[in-house]
């Protein structure tokens, strides 16, 4: 073997997969528990989704239970709650999108105009406090404020000549209440990411705009907003992907049977039917339907955004 070929073989050797795996065996060793975790707690449940197509029987287990195809899916589609659940889930996240999504952007823009650094920091710190408070505490406080007898809201209503109302017992108020709670809770925390993006907008652009005679509003419209549009789009993709996946935690604490008409969403329904009533296969089918729609929504928005604005998650 000539020295040149020996050189070549060794060179190839260094690029072979086996060589590279051996070279980073410490990293593999490190990663092992992580991959085991993901298999056990993320991918195993995904395979567990097969029970949506089976008649899950506790004694037989997941594999031995009988296949039933799309039985539980059609049961869900034909259920009299199907339309109501889709409508409630969609409307609640849609309101969140319309009112909750712009709120942090507006707050970030206003904070950005605040030149006093200390004051700005204090406001910021206070504004994201609710993000760290548990849902149970937030809903507990909320319920106290809405209380018919002594709640602040009803005191105000009465002071302005209205009659005391049990807001949480009337379907027509639920979406407003849920959306308001969401804004109160998320406005400060949501603004951080936009404020970070705002600091990256070059000051020279503002000066140029000023020289061209642009006022504050023009500056905001032509420089600030385009400057943070990438961040806005990324956040929007996430948000749209969640259009049919309203979390159950907050609603489970807030709702009651009297307001299922507007408050019951897919995730709370899965919880009640699937877990409380132990209709596992049915619950899994509804859950799978919900996650699939979420996946489709995320990838569609992502693809659209990639095409039209060159910004995307992946």
């Amino acid at each position: 073997m000539s020295p040149a070929t020996a050189q070549k073989t060794r060179h190839l050797d260094q690029h072979s997969a086996w060589y590279r795996i051996r070279k980073s065996k410490f990293l593999y060793l490190m990663f092992l528990p992580v991959i085991v975790y993901y298999i056990m707690f993320c991918y195993a449940p995904m395979f567990g989704l097969v029970i949506a197509f089976k008649d899950y029987n506790v004694f037989k287990g997941i594999w031995a239970s009988k296949w039933v195809g799309f039985k539980y899916f059609s049961q869900f589609f034909e259920s009299r709650f199907f339309f109501r659940l889709i409508r409630n889930t969609f409307l609640i996240s849609f309101y969140g999108l319309i009112f909750g999504f712009p709120a942090p952007i507006i707050l970030a823009l206003l904070l950005n105009e605040q030149k006093d650094g200390v004051f700005k920091r204090v406001v910021q710190t206070i504004s994201y406090l609710p993000h760290f408070i548990s849902t149970v505490v937030l809903v507990s406080m909320f319920v106290q404020f809405l209380s018919v007898n002594n709640g602040l809201i009803n005191n105000l209503v009465e002071a302005f000549g209205g009659t005391r109302t049990y807001f949480l017992g009337d379907p027509k108020y639920f979406r407003t209440l849920y959306t308001s709670l969401g804004i109160w809770r998320g406005i400060g925390w949501g603004s951080i990411i936009y404020l970070a993006a705002l600091t990256n907008v070059s000051p020279e652009l503002y000066e140029a705009c000023l020289i061209d005679g642009g006022g504050r509003l023009r500056q905001t419209w032509h420089i600030t907003l385009p400057g943070i549009s990438n961040t806005i789009i990324i956040m929007l993709i996430f948000r749209v992907g969640e259009l049919l996946s309203v979390g159950s935690e907050t609603i489970l604490l807030m709702y009651n049977e009297a307001i299922y008409e507007t408050a019951d969403v897919i995730s709370t329904y899965v919880y009640r039917r699937g877990l409380i009533n132990a209709e596992y296969s049915f619950g899994a089918a509804v859950g799978l339907f919900n996650s699939l729609i979420g996946l489709i929504l995320v990838s569609t928005t992502n693809a659209l955004s990639k095409r039209f604005s060159e910004t995307s998650l992946w």
Binding site: F41, Q114, V123, I126, F132, Q144, V270
Partner: protein
């Protein structure tokens, strides 16, 4: 430069808006604290606003005597400490390899991990799997299934990526093996980020209640949040008032309303106490994450 009239008007509007915002954010907390310290009739007639009316500590005395709150507190504390420790170890174990260019198959592993952010088994299959592992109604069910938050791990990976390769190479030349490099060079450089991620996890554990509802039966393992829900949202005040030694309904009514507020305060106090000191870490965390999601 002279300010235009509209600019001055805007600045005033903006200032007032900020003040109103702060009041709206803080008032609920102040009111809850004030109510918990007030006398019951003032609370039940809705007269308490910013300051306690008829200051007294009866509600707290009742809460302190309530055994479940203490057990709940102890459980929450254990879940938070053990859970956060597991979280940090697992997150570093995952984030470090994913940040190294020489980690063969990195993109495949990144995909496997990131995919779980967009699709998952959902409530029912996860419940059944956890049941199959025999974790139901154990201490570990509160800390193991959530051992890694993919989002936090990706933030951590982004941070590790920012550490110059030269530092590692220098360590290798000085005779460190991979393990020593990580332990003596990488991790000391990452303490601030680890703190940040650790706080996110810790707050998550402190506030967790839903997993407890699903996976725990034995009330001896319940976290404090669950007792809060029972007392305030499911209106089980009676139990706690009876524990306080009050026998007749009249005495019971003396604290019935204020107790709810006191329980809320007890559940939220630790967070409120540490919040002013640690909030800057949280903000830093979002900043690292926003560089590249």
């Amino acid at each position: 430069m002279k300010k235009s009239n509209s600019r001055i008007a805007f600045e005033w509007f903006n200032f007032v808006f900020m003040i109103v915002l702060c009041v709206v954010m803080l008032y609920p907390f102040l009111n809850v604290v004030a109510s918990s310290l007030s006398n019951n009739s003032a609370v039940s007639r809705g007269r308490v606003t910013f300051f306690p009316i008829g200051f007294n500590l009866e509600a707290y005395k009742a809460v302190v005597r309530y055994q479940h709150i203490w057990t709940g507190y102890k459980n929450t504390l254990l879940y938070t400490i053990v859970g956060t420790a597991i979280n940090l170890v697992m997150t570093v174990l995952g984030a470090y390899p994913l940040s190294r260019k020489q980690f063969y198959g990195r993109s495949v592993f990144t995909f496997i991990v990131a995919f779980t952010m967009f699709f998952g088994g959902g409530l029912i299959p996860t419940y059944l799997i956890i049941n199959a592992y025999g974790l139901l109604d154990t201490f570990w069910v509160m800390v193991i299934p959530g051992a890694i938050s993919t989002y936090n791990m990706i933030i951590m990976r982004t941070f590790f990526q920012g550490i110059p390769v030269e530092l590692e190479e220098a360590a290798t030349i000085d005779g460190c093996n991979d393990m020593q490099t990580l332990w003596k060079v990488i991790l000391p450089l990452s303490t601030a980020s680890l703190m940040t991620i650790g706080m996110f996890y810790a707050v998550g554990h402190w506030n967790a209640w839903f997993n407890a509802v699903i996976y725990l039966r034995d009330s001896g393992r319940f976290p404090v949040q669950l007792w809060l829900r029972t007392i305030v949202l499911q209106n089980q005040v009676r139990d706690i008032v009876e524990g306080s030694g009050a026998v007749d309904t009249e005495a019971e009514n003396l604290v019935a309303d204020t107790i709810k507020f006191a329980v809320i305060v007890v559940a939220v106090l630790p967070i409120l106490c540490v919040y002013p000191f640690v909030q800057k870490y949280f903000v830093k965390g979002v900043m690292i994450g926003s560089v590249k999601g």
